[in-house]
């Protein structure tokens, strides 16, 4: 599904190249649950951003579902966002001016899903995440864990084939973190959604089935998790 070949990312500063990523080559298949781990500044988030096409690599090729996306037009990229990729952020990034319901609805509107279909999908998600009662609240009226649930519901609404999560539990207490991680695991196992997450926590990484260890921009280790 994702094929990265010799991906490099550097910032040139006074003729000196500061590498963030160096010759990263890896393949992630449909249905995998990959955790990217490493110390601060290792390039984890940059790698995730490149996978999410939020940043462009300075060098290397990137195939997403068999398509070369290093030189993709904005329009095509947005099509991919609409249909295949869901993002989950550490700071949740819900839109403050929208209610829970509207936040989940937003991607469906961009995807031009019909209103009946929209209503049933949202109802389904609200139900599944147990937040039906909160649908008319605004994000600032929710706890962090609840906000992240909404964030995930929003990411799932468009029925993406892959979810990219940047430290999804970074701002949460451990009980809530566990809840979120089990949810990810369930989504991966039961619905076959590919998940790539960046995390600091060894414990969270264990929920997945593969860990990429990164240090100083280089993939040091690529190990499978034995369940």
């Amino acid at each position: 599904m994702i094929q990265l070949t010799n991906i490099e990312k550097y910032y040139a500063n006074k003729g000196v190249k500061n590498y963030v990523l160096r010759l990263v080559t890896t393949t992630i298949n449909q249905g995998e649950f990959v955790s990217i781990m490493g110390p601060s500044g290792a390039g984890k988030s940059t790698l995730l951003n490149i996978i999410g096409m939020l940043e462009e690599p300075t060098y290397g090729t990137y195939h997403f579902m068999g398509e070369d996306v290093t030189s993709l037009s904005e329009r095509k990229r947005i099509e991919l966002y609409r249909n295949h990729i869901g993002f989950v952020f550490q700071a949740y990034h819900l839109i403050d001016e929208m209610t829970v319901y509207e936040n989940i609805e937003a991607p469906l509107l961009y995807k031009k899903v019909g209103s009946a279909e929209r209503a049933s999908r949202i109802a389904d998600l609200l139900d599944r995440f147990n937040i039906v009662a909160k649908k008319d609240l605004f994000p600032n009226q929710l706890s962090g864990g609840q906000q992240q649930l909404v964030g995930i519901a929003r990411a799932l609404a468009a029925q993406p084939s892959i979810i990219l999560a940047d430290e999804p539990t970074g701002n949460l207490q451990s009980a809530q973190a566990e809840e979120i991680m089990s949810l990810f695991k369930k989504l991966n196992e039961e619905e076959g959604i590919t998940i790539i997450q960046v995390t600091h926590s060894e414990k969270n990484a264990q929920y997945g089935n593969r860990i990429l260890h990164i240090a100083d921009g280089v993939v040091k280790e690529d190990v499978a998790v034995l369940s």
Binding site: N49, I78, H93, I95, E102, A106, L109, Y110
Partner: protein, 806 residues
């Protein structure tokens, strides 16, 4: 999607209520000023537009120097009445020509049966061809027959209703008395015409045909000046028509000069030339013969209102972009959810549209509220909803609205939709300084406008104080003008009333001045002076100040023959020690008459302060020609002259029962002269208050956002030990630089503008420095106060909150 965007827009506005109010309110103010101006311009443009047939109506203008304020040649609206006949005979392009007499004085007296006489303004005396030229719509009577006979009158419906309470007045008669001892004409109403719905350059309530306009003066040497209008059948080539007009005019002049034994060359020298032309009626109002036309008069106001609109748009942009920090996250998230940039731009444009629509509604309300005051200020009747051209005004309004919305909305929309999702989602967008330069420039621009306004107010205030306190050269206290001709019998009667000190007449008094050119020869040199005929004690009545020599007095026999008094301006032209000197004047028969100067008086004002006092010679004698106009001056020797006036009115009623008594005090005449200036000043004050408050609101909002944006920096500084005062200073400093820059830029701008304004006055103050200093101080102080309110709030906040947030 659209519905959701509207909802978000609404929630955002609600969340930032204060800023939204500032935004909308500011824009509404700017729009209001602009729309009022639009209405005014539409009004001025609608002159003489009440019938499509008016495009074939022309006004005839003759170039001459009679009745001019400066004794120079102008293309004038009044022409020698003989010209009408000549056009009828020899210019075939014009199929109908009519003469309309000028209106003299303050209206005419109308006496219906035995009722008290009432003054009616706008009764124009014309010849029988008036309705052949002007296509008025008759409610009663017919255009062809109405004015056929002499002593007939056609009145407008509104006047009919006012005089009789009905418009069924055909065949009724009233007595028209045009001056106080006029025997009067009994006029028969032969027609009622509909009032027109646009302003007219020939304003009238009734057109009479007394027969006076049917003949030209018998003597070749005397002429009668009237307005002349001509009508063509269909479109004509104005250029060739004007060529024929010029030709017949020169022929006519040559012929009449020959009869008067004058040489054509002698009359038309010193750059003077004969001239006659026809201008289309629609060009009459935009081209007044002496004063500036309305567009030129209005230019500063148009400029100001555009500026106000720009200031409010700037505020709008400023606040919207400042808010972009808050909205950035929404944009970033929406981008990764799959929104096109186009959709985002559209969303933000919809938001600005929402705000500008609210502003538009608010401004329509404001216009409704302000219109009466505005009408009063400009002495016109504008209306919005009942406007004849509502459709076109609404179109213009929509155009303005679209331009404003695009101007105000595009930049913020572009800035917002352009933000990079990665940096936004990482959370450091708020710290970026993008757009701050532009915002600073905009704030500087706003302050330049505001400071310039404040300086202008200061200088205008000083100038107004100067002219209202200026020595007029005569004593305006206890002096009234009866606005009527001098009659020895009546004057003697009121002289005998106790409390009356002097009774006299002159052509030169404030409120009614009439200039008459008089060429004299002094020591072989030809000098043009303004010649004024006065009665013996006119100068005493005015209370002018003597510089040297003496004023006219009964004791000197020669005063009724050849004594003259000069004013200082005239004396200055001729030389020093003028008292006792003599000069010559050639009368129309070619004889030279010698006059002797007996006194020199201080210049006194009889017109606005924009005009210099003309070099003038005063004489009692009627040698060398006289001039007179309706001024009867009465000076009292008591402050309490109300009772004396009643007694004068009693005498008046005995002598002139058919003409109402009226008078104007010199104090009122003086206030009238100051009026126009006062109006302009009031408007500038109003506009500057609006502009300054808009700028302050803008600054307030901007400082709030900057303070918010620097929250972290401030928290860190506090942790490092900065005091609250130091923090307030820190925030103030960045804004102070902007305000000081704005001051530096606005000084030269204000200097140029104010200097130009002052140059419009013949009597003016030296450009003072202190309005400049004052306005800079004011602007800096209020800017510091405005910023400090916000800065203090941020400064006293607990640093933990800000630091934890990161």
């Amino acid at each position: 999607m659209f519905k959701l965007n509207l909802k978000i827009a609404w929630r955002n506005l609600w969340k930032n209520k204060v800023y939204a109010a500032i935004n909308i309110g500011g824009l509404a103010l700017g729009l209001t000023a602009f729309v009022l101006m639009l209405l005014y311009i539409n009004y001025e443009k609608s002159y003489d537009n009440w019938s499509p047939d008016l495009k074939n109506v022309y006004q005839i203008r003759e170039k001459h120097d009679f009745f001019t304020p400066d004794n120079k040649e102008h293309w004038q609206e009044i022409s020698n009445s003989r010209i009408a006949g000549i056009i009828k005979e020899s210019v075939p392009q014009f199929t109908a020509v009519t003469k309309i007499d000028q209106e003299w004085g303050n209206g005419f007296s109308v006496k219906i049966d035995h009722a008290d006489p009432v003054m009616v303004k706008g009764i124009k005396d014309a010849d029988s061809a008036f309705f052949n030229v002007f296509p008025y719509q008759f409610i009663q009577g017919t255009a062809a027959n109405a004015l056929k006979e002499p002593n007939t009158v056609v009145i407008k419906q509104s006047l009919a209703n006012k005089l009789y309470g009905t418009d069924h007045v055909l065949g009724k008669e009233f007595k028209l008395v045009r001056w106080r001892d006029d025997t009067g004409n009994s006029l028969k109403i032969t027609g009622v015409i509909a009032d027109v719905n646009t302003p007219e350059s020939i304003q009238f309530n009734a057109v009479s045909h007394t027969g006076d306009q049917d003949h030209d003066p018998d003597q070749i040497g005397s002429s009668h000046y009237t307005q002349i209008y001509a009508k063509s059948e269909g479109d004509i080539d104005t250029l060739s028509a004007n060529k024929s007009l010029q030709k017949v005019y020169v022929d006519f002049k040559k012929k009449s000069f020959a009869a008067e034994k004058l040489s054509f060359k002698d009359v038309y020298k010193d750059g003077k030339s004969p001239g006659l032309k026809a201008i289309s009626l629609k060009d009459v109002h935009p081209n007044p013969p002496f004063s500036l036309n309305w567009l030129d008069k209005l230019k500063p106001v148009i400029g100001i209102s555009i500026f106000l609109l720009v200031v409010s748009i700037i505020n709008f942009i400023n606040l919207a972009t400042a808010q972009s920090v808050q909205r950035a996250k929404e944009v970033g998230v929406k981008k990764v959810l799959g929104a096109y940039k186009k959709q985002l731009i559209l969303q933000f444009l919809i938001e600005s549209t929402l705000q500008s629509i609210s502003a538009l509604f608010l401004s329509v309300i404001l216009i409704e509220i302000l219109l009466p005051a505005f009408n009063h200020q400009f002495n016109i009747t504008l209306s919005f909803w009942h406007n004849e051209y509502l459709f076109s005004i609404v179109l213009q309004l929509i155009a303005v609205f679209i331009v404003v919305t695009l101007l105000a909305g595009c930049y913020p929309a572009w800035i917002l939709s352009n933000c990079n999702p990665v940096s936004v989602l990482k959370g450091n967008y708020g710290n970026s300084l993008k757009g701050i330069t532009l915002r600073n420039v905009l704030v500087v621009f706003q302050f330049i406008i505001s400071v310039t306004f404040i300086i202008a107010i200061g200088v205008m205030h000083l100038q107004t104080k100067y002219i209202s306190g200026k020595d007029l050269g005569f004593d305006r206290d206890k002096l009234i003008n009866l606005r009527t001709g001098y009659d020895q019998n009546f004057a003697d009667k009121i002289r005998r009333i106790p409390g009356v000190q002097y009774v006299s007449t002159t052509t030169q008094v404030m409120g009614n001045a009439f200039n008459n050119k008089s060429k004299i020869i002094y020591k072989g040199r030809e000098v043009n002076l303004n010649g004024v005929t006065v009665t013996m004690d006119a100068l005493q009545t005015l209370g002018v100040k003597l510089v040297s020599g003496r004023l006219f007095a009964k004791e000197y026999v020669q005063d009724t023959i050849n004594s003259v008094v000069l004013n200082e301006a005239a004396a200055g032209l001729l030389g020093k020690n003028m008292v006792g000197q003599t000069y010559g004047k050639v009368d129309y028969q070619g004889k030279t008459i010698t006059f002797q100067v007996v006194g020199v008086i201080k210049n006194y004002h009889n017109e606005g302060f924009d005009k210099a006092v003309l070099p003038t010679v005063y004489k009692v004698s009627n040698l060398g020609g006289t001039s007179n106009t309706n001024n009867l001056l009465v000076r009292f020797d008591t402050k309490n002259y109300k009772g004396v006036i009643n007694k004068i009115e009693g005498e008046w009623k005995k002598l002139y029962p058919d003409f109402p008594f009226q008078y104007q005090s010199m104090d009122d005449a003086f206030s009238e002269i100051l009026e126009e200036n006062k109006r302009f000043m009031n408007m500038i004050v109003l506009f500057s208050v609006v502009s300054v408050s808009l700028s302050l609101l803008g600054l307030f909002a901007l400082s709030t956002f900057v303070a918010k944006r620097r929250t972290k920096e401030i928290a860190v500084r506090k942790v490092l030990g900065a005091s609250n005062f130091q923090i307030v200073n820190l925030l103030n400093k960045s804004f102070l630089i902007l305000v000081v820059t704005a001051n530096l830029i606005s000084w030269p701008i204000a200097y140029i503008l104010v200097k130009k304004w002052l140059e419009g006055f013949a009597y003016r103050i030296e450009l003072p420095l202190y309005p400049f200093l004052l306005s800079s101080t004011i602007s800096i102080v209020i800017a510091v106060l405005t910023v400090s309110i916000q800065a203090r709030k941020t400064a006293i906040a607990e640093p933990v909150v800000a630091l934890k947030y990161e």
